[in-house]
């Protein structure tokens, strides 16, 4: 089985991260934005796993698990906020939710 080089994984991870970042910046639906954030998380995860494999060091793999856990917690909190905002305003455009500004 041919080995995929490290640079290939990193190129994919970079691509995923940029897609996530751009998606976060241009979409106004909070659910889509959350999915974009998820993409960025996983771009990072992919890079971690690739480096871990490449250097034969397991700590990168372990860090992936930690990131997945934190991402799950983040998604839970963010979805709860989104649900509450939707209940109050029947509208989920993030540009409308700017009452918290200083």
């Amino acid at each position: 089985m041919p080995q995929v080089p490290l640079a290939g994984y990193l190129a994919l991870a970079s691509a995923l991260f940029v897609i996530g970042a751009v998606g976060f910046l241009i979409r106004r639906n909070p659910l889509t934005m959350l999915m974009s954030i998820e993409l960025m998380w996983n771009a990072g995860n992919l890079a971690f796993a690739a480096f871990a494999r490449s250097f034969g060091d397991m700590s990168g793999q372990i860090f992936v698990f930690i990131v997945i856990t934190v991402a799950a917690a983040e998604a839970a909190v963010a979805l709860a906020i989104v649900v509450m905002v939707f209940r109050h305003r029947a509208d989920v455009d993030v540009d409308e939710i700017s009452v918290m500004r200083g």
Binding site: M33, V94, D95, I97
Partner: protein, 641 residues
Amino acid sequence: MDHHIAPPIPFILFFPLIGAVTIALLGPYADRRASGFVGTAAVFMSFVVTVWLAIVVWHLPIDQQATFTHSRFLGYWVDLPPYLVISFRMLVDPLSIVWMLIITGVGFLIHLYSVGYMAPDKNYRTFFAYMNLFVVAMLLVVMADNFLWLLVGWAGVGLASYLLIGFYYDRRSAVLAARKALIMNVIGDVGIMIAIFLMYAHFGSVAYQDVFSSLSRASVSSLNWIGVFLLVGAVAKSAQLPLQTWLPDAMEGPTPVSALIHAATMVTAGVYLVARAHPIYDHAPIAAGITAAIGGLTALFAATIGTVQYDIKRVLAYSTMSQIGYMMLAVGIGAYAAGAFHFVTHAFFKALLFMAAGIVIHNLSGEQDIRKMGGLAKRMPFAYWTFLAGTLAIAGIFPFAGFFSKDAVLDQALKLHHPWLQAAGTIAAFLTAFYMFRLLLLTFFTGAYRGAREPHHESPWTMTWPVAILAVLSLIGGWLVLPGHDLISGALAASFVDTRFGQFLGEFNWPLSIGTLVIAIAGITLAFALYELKSGAREWLRLRLAPVRALLMNAYYFDDVYHYALEMPSYALAGFFARYFERQAIGAIPRALAGLASFFAGISVGWETGYLRRYGLSIVVGVALLLAFYFFLTSAALGGR
């Protein structure tokens, strides 16, 4: 007597302390009568232990009496050898025991009296908590073994006095009187503090034993200064000239308070202080001379004011001032035993007078103006007979207590070659007899009751019994010193072993005693002539002596002088600083700081848009810039290699 069982001395202090705390914390959860019971019982238990202690100590040989309890060590307060060590020990020598017996004994009777007197009051529980607090602080004053603990108790009685004068806090006059008393007392506290600093500077210690055993290390002028500053404290607490104006106003407090604090015990703390510090005064002739002069002057000064006052409690307040003047005179000339003797008898008859007056006031629902009283002897025979006993005692009529103790003071003044002070005391004795009988006649005889409030209720036994007991003590209290037999000097000998004035009060100077008695009777006769016989002499005198009368009615205008000379300038100064310095100068600093903060806030507030995606963009741009910077750094490093 079993000398091996030592009385639990600390409990004398702990009982009222526990009483005060218990009433304060648990009072609201119990029946209101419980507070009165706990407060009274606490003082009674202290009294029992004190009597036990007194019996044990006075059965010891004289050379062991003073050192009996120097080992009662309760702990360190400051433990910084070699600079300063302040331990808390209980000093119990005969001098303290005399005071402790009066504080707890008379204190118990007054607590019992208060159970009846204060019964209708809504703050009944608070009253007993304060009263117990006072007893603790006063016991601390006389049981401390160093000047610093004495000052703690000294300030404590000031606090209790302040709280109790202002007890009727919904009356403006009471609150003002309380404040006045506190301010005057704090002047005294500062005086004692300065004396303590001086003692530490000269002797390196503030414990009585250390100071008194190393007096030779200080010069006479230093000792004079220490004595004078201690005297400032004594004068403020004992309401002597020129810090006397708070005492008449202190009569705003409930009558049992006047009896306990402003007559029998607290105001004599100054006398105790001078007697306690007698080794200093023995070596400080100027300070001792000032003490005696202030005492003599105050005795005379207060007695003259007493002759024209119309408030029953104010007359008694001025008489207290005058009697404490006698005590100060005695301790100032070195007649410590005579001063202590007059303290004991005065505690009996003055507490009696206040409490009998309290019965009158109580029965008249708060009426205190003797112009509206009169003819009350038939309506209130009990109050009349007991008040009469107190009046005879204070006027110095044989065989009542005042006769013996006042003559002891005057006799000592003569023996120690102070004819002027003896003369002042004799004139004051004449005036005392006059104004006390004026008070008695106006209250109980002349005319008829003209007040708006009808006498209505009977006094409960808790009020009558203490008064009856004190009436008996006012009669027999003076018999502690009879010709050739002197219990007071004997009892106090151990405390005054080191003084250069050896005294024996039992040597009566009969011509002097009879002379004073005649003078007192002359005063009584004058009172009868002016107030009982319808001779017209009173009106004649009133017209002729109108300016003098105005002077006396206003207590020599001391209050006004203090108002214009001290109070107004300090108010003006404070007003000036408040208006200009405080607002313009000091206020500028916080205003500038606040302006600075809001300036920066104004800049940064623009960044807070509330748009989530803009925050996201900021993050991305920031990260991109950081990365670019990082790449620039690494490429520069690589290129430089």
